[in-house]
Amino acid sequence: MKDRLKELEILLECDIEYTTEQSATRRSNHTVFPVDGHHFIVIDRKLSATESKLVRYWLEKNITNESAIILEEGGYVQLSKLQRFPLNLWRVAFKESREDVLAILQSTFTKDVILEVSQNAFVILVSESPVTPAEVLSIIESEALTSVHIITGERIHHPEELRKAYLQLNMLYDLAHKLKQHSRVIRYEDLRFPLLLQSILKSQGKQTPNMINDSELEQTALVFFDHNLNITETAQALFIHRNTLIYRLNKLETVTGYDIRKFNDAISFYLSYLMHKINREIA
């Protein structure tokens, strides 16, 4: 219980005492909640109605950690009323060294709530991050020496979106797994388009567009998109001569009919590519 109360202290920005002393319940300008027949929690200030509701909810539902408030329907609304909006949800998943990872997150996100969602993952309600997800990843990997994945969700503006945003993190992870297998930072911004496409495909049934069956051409096209259709930068990234790249792009055009140097063809090809990848998973 004492550990849980620490989390509640951070959430309410107050000091909480866990006591059996009846006298503690009579302190002025404090708020007291009975836990059972013998114990009380004494909060060092008067709480607002919303805050009191949250604490009662916390106690009544026998919630073991803050994350459950988000996971439980209804509870998240109470919690979310105490949060600053807009905010993003960041899911930090790690392999080991849980205590070290938590200490690092608490030192980095001093003003944000950190929720334990499983033994190997925390969700942070990030109002304004002082560091990028990639920086958090490298801090954790270099300090706690454990491998990490970070997923950052869509920016949300209202409490009602909180639960959906939480569930979206898992969806983003699955989608990223289909499309970019080795990325350790998965950002909603990078997957907005595939996410939209996935929801359309799911609602409309499956279609399988014709796709290339040549991993070299596929890789070439993806790197070309990553470099905003820039021939020079793509050639450098692939470590090939620009003439080789042009040869491959011509070959891609012959095979698929798309000249991805042109914006319209590029977007059509990219759509087909995503549909192909997502369809394969749905199938």
Partner: protein, 363 residues
Amino acid sequence: MAKVSLVNINKIYENGFHAVKGINLEIQDKEFMVLVGPSGCGKTTSLRMIAGLEGISSGEMIIGDQVVNEVAPKDRNIAMVFQNYALYPHMSVYDNMAFGLKLQKTPKDEIKERIDKAAKILDIEQLLTRKPKQLSGGQRQRVALGRAIVRKPEVFLMDEPLSNLDAKLRVQMRAELIKLHNSLETTFVYVTHDQTEAMTMGTRICVMNDGIIQQVADPKTIYNHPANMFVAGFIGAPQMNFFRGKVEAAGEGYVVNIDGTTLPLNPASGAKAKAKDKLGKELVIGVRPENVRMSDSGAGLKVKVEVTELLGSDLNVYFVLNGKHFIAKEDANKEIAFNQDLVVSFDPEKIHLFDPETEQSIL
């Protein structure tokens, strides 16, 4: 202090992608080993496998005398420095450096002693009370290095630590890292895609491509005796020119024949080509831009100048031969004009020969 051995190391991801393909590498104690290659070549994956941040599909990872395949990263006595050298924004430099040690429950006095020592080495003693936002990019990178140093690791693992710095600072930090390696006398494993960093910093360089080690050698050997066309092309800027041609006997010596034009070749290289039964057969002839000469005698390959680039001390001359593009590095004082017809030859001592099928050097 420790040496690091990778024995038949493979990394195959769940989706079947074979990122590292049975590599063998022995990194000596106190060595500065640079893993270099283009993006996706497996260098970072290899580094992360040494750290234990990435699992090994098969093979043995040995640090010191211990097989560490099943040893947790924090028990491998390593320290990592990344490209994103983020610091805790609300903490002073001192606290940033102390944080990892506090997690390890290191006594306060020892923390102070280690930080003072590291700060002295890195020349950041006067910055210890500052917050990260009060530091320049270079200073922040030093603090990130300081965080690694105070751990007193047996092996430093660095993943493109200079990539986020501007060009001038990168050059400066390169020299700082070399000095740091000399003063710490610890094993460094350093990953970069930048061949200049590899050449200037490494005691030895491991060139990788497509999950395979292409060559491991000291920088001079890598540059002068590349094992294959990939290494020859990757190391060196501007990159090596590759011509199609043949080696032929000519009197008592040998020549290379490119499209009917013959150019002298040193006898030792010719003899090696002969010993490998390559005389008269199609080969790839590699010549570095600085070994392409403007011919005074009028004998050589007739080419047309496409572009010239004045770099201060050097002049890069891009030229066309039979529709293909090549480059020569000339003295900046030479007057060479756009579209000019030139005759070029090669330094016979510096011609590389490769098998066109295997792309391996035959020298």
